[in-house]
């Protein structure tokens, strides 16, 4: 009987006495005899099946934050497509969209409206989704794998390397079409260099648990970033006539978005997103520290390497097409943590979805507040993100979480 009750304790129909909690229900042992859900064994066994499937949903964590984030993203996408300096009416936008459906109602769309929606707004929105999800997801993953709340996706040299790559293309007078691949190569190369130097440092004293790896990797990242930034600054100063081009790339933005860019970065983003998401449970294990994670059966060094590779691919691809958009990678994961709790099972997917929504909305602001000229999107992410972040930080829930 005890065994059956314990099985039932996994979460059947909630009784008044036992509140369901993440698939584990309170107290299977010490309840008074004769509680209402003591049934015949056959019926109990039947309920165990349904109980375990219910338990899966519960322990798979509240899916609510993910649904809410998806909803916010849908709204952001709708706003991103509907709003812009061209001042199309909602009917015009809707007509331009439905005209591409296979069995669309008869609507009139001017070629201009069609081009504004399909060649200008939609690519920006889609690229914003890809870039925002990578910056926020990469930031969350770095914070988890380095157990450092200040980590952002540019930590290991992505920004410095990408900036150097783009600058080299600009000052050498090569085609600007080469900027994305050069930035991608610079960004990934910088992280590879950081990792090579950082994880090789102090090898003799390194513990097999991978215990003292992160410190030296972070320090190597700072050194590599400083070095590459110095090269970049030198090149930039030597060719001051190209300063504006370089500077506007560094500020970042989605104004140059095209469908071909989207198809180019999509594979990297997809691989990176999947690879990061499958590590969400292991990032939770790392929350107890590297030594304990190792004693629990995690190969910490391997997890760290795989997460860094995944994040670097995605973030480098994002940087290659959008420049260095600041703030998203650090602010979005923390807002998610404060609102939805610290488990990476939630933080990682919700950061990706929320980062996408945030960047799409930031881009709407970037192209409308000072139309027809554009405000750099990095300015918007900081100006809108910082107060929102402080607001969430000072909310009641945050006080509970941080106390």
């Amino acid at each position: 009987m005890t065994a059956t009750r314990k099985l039932l304790g996994l979460g059947g129909k909630p009784t008044a006495a036992a509140r369901p909690v993440h698939g584990l229900r309170q107290n299977g042992r010490r309840e008074p005899a004769g509680r209402p859900d003591q049934r015949a064994p056959a019926e109990s066994a039947k309920r165990v099946d349904s109980a375990s499937s219910q338990g899966r949903v519960r322990l798979g964590r509240p899916t609510k934050p993910i649904l809410v984030a998806c909803l916010v993203l849908l709204v952001a996408i709708a706003v991103g497509v509907a709003v812009g300096p061209a001042g199309l009416s909602l009917q015009q936008v809707a007509a331009a969209l439905v005209v591409r459906l296979p069995w669309h109602p008869h609507v009139f769309v001017t070629p201009l409206d069609n081009a504004i929606v399909w060649q200008i707004r939609l690519p920006r929105v889609v690229l914003g989704v890809l870039v925002g999800s990578m910056l926020a997801g990469g930031g969350a993953a770095y914070q988890g794998v380095f157990r450092n709340p200040l980590a952002d996706p540019y930590l290991l040299g992505v920004a410095a390397g990408g900036g150097l790559g783009a600058t080299i293309v600009v000052v050498s007078g090569a085609s600007t079409a080469l900027m994305p691949p050069a930035a991608f190569a610079g960004a990934t190369g910088a992280v590879a260099l950081t990792y090579l130097l950082g994880s090789g440092a102090g090898r003799s004293g390194e513990s097999p648990a991978g215990g003292n790896g992160t410190g030296s990797i972070l320090l190597a990242g700072i050194a590599v970033a400083a070095l590459l930034t110095a090269f970049q600054t030198y090149l930039q100063q030597e060719h001051s006539q190209t300063l504006t081009t370089v500077y506007s790339w560094i500020l970042g933005g989605l104004s140059a978005a095209t469908w071909s860019q989207i198809w180019t970065v999509l594979p990297y983003v997809a691989v990176s997103a999947v690879a990061l998401l499958v590590h969400r449970r292991l990032l939770d294990v790392l929350r107890v520290g590297e030594t304990e994670a190792a004693s629990l059966g995690v190969n910490v060094a391997r997890v760290r390497l795989l997460v860094v590779i995944a994040a670097t691919l995605g973030v480098s691809a994002a940087v290659a097409v959008s420049g260095l958009i600041g703030f998203v990678g650090i602010i979005v994961p923390h807002v998610v943590r404060l609102m939805a709790g610290p488990s990476y099972r939630i933080v990682l997917p919700v950061s990706m979805i929320g980062g996408a929504a945030f960047l799409v909305l930031a881009d709407v602001a970037a192209r409308t507040v000072q139309a027809p000229s554009e405000v750099p999107i990095g300015v918007i992410t900081a100006v809108a993100g910082a107060p929102f972040f402080l607001f969430v930080l000072r909310s009641r829930r945050a006080r509970q979480v941080l106390s």
Binding site: L7, L10, V21, L59, G211, A294, S295, V298
Partner: protein, 258 residues
């Protein structure tokens, strides 16, 4: 069954463990005692392969050096002296971490994993607080919680580093009784570093006295807990008393001034 031969650990130039050998039989409780810095924690860390060492370790007939982290974690559960306790993690999430070695790299926990966690939480009387966050728990509750995570690992060998140092005397007794019960229920092999010599003598089947990284004495409490031996390693005031019930109590007397 766990055995180790010639374990040597260096921290830079410091020799922390100097050729220590020993074995613990299935279901046996070995208490590792010794003054601060004797190498107790280092020995446990080496056995869990959490630091670099020389020497050989065999667990359940398998050479530990050839096992993956996962395989090792299925054989050895380790409770550190000061575990990292994320304050906003819930009790059930924390215990679930113990199942890590049983879940595939890309997978998530199964219904069986959840049942084992639920049973463990139940067994350690934590079920009324399964949804509570760690910051809201007392020292004694946290102690049981960390033990619950180790038990959820379902490893035959349990390494405990000072499992009761943060508890008051009553809770200490309770915690050690609980470990003893669990050991008998599940046939666990227990190695624990333990400062309190009286408790070590009461609970461990056998004591190993470490000093300066070497084994100074090993055997049942009746031989290791001896005035002269302990005085040599812990200080001159050590005295071993025998209570009416036959327990050995180790006390430390103040030396007369002057």
């Amino acid at each position: 069954m766990i055995s180790f031969t010639e374990l040597t650990v260096r921290y830079g130039d410091t020799l922390a463990l100097d050729g220590v050998s020993g074995a613990v039989a299935d279901g046996e409780w070995l208490g590792v005692i010794g003054p601060n810095g004797a190498g107790k924690t280092t020995l446990l860390n080496a056995l869990a392969r959490l630091l670099a060492f020389q020497g050989a370790i065999t667990i359940c007939g398998k050479p530990a050096g050839r096992l993956s982290r996962r395989e090792l974690a299925r054989l050895i559960a380790y409770v550190p002296q000061r575990p990292v306790l994320p304050p906003d993690m819930t009790v059930s999430d924390y215990v679930l971490l113990g199942r890590t070695a049983h879940i595939t790299y890309l997978g998530v926990e199964s219904a069986a994993d959840r049942k084992i966690c639920a049973d463990t939480i139940d067994r350690l009387d934590l079920s009324s607080m399964a949804d509570r966050r760690l910051r809201a728990m007392s020292g004694g509750e946290l102690q049981r919680l960390v033990l619950a995570r180790a038990l959820a690992q379902e490893a035959p060998v349990l390494l405990l580093d000072e499992p009761t140092s943060a508890l008051d005397l009553g809770r200490r007794m309770e915690a050690l009784e609980l470990i003893d019960e669990l050991r008998r229920e599940r046939g666990l092999t227990v190695l624990s570093a333990i400062h309190d010599l009286t408790l070590a003598g009461q609970f461990a089947d056998r004591l190993m006295l470490l000093t300066n990284g070497r084994i100074a004495a090993s055997g049942p409490a009746s031989t290791v807990l001896a005035d002269s031996l302990l005085a040599r390693h812990f200080g001159p005031g050590i005295q071993v008393l025998t209570t009416d019930a036959g327990d050995l109590a180790v006390i430390s007397r103040r030396m007369p001034r002057g």
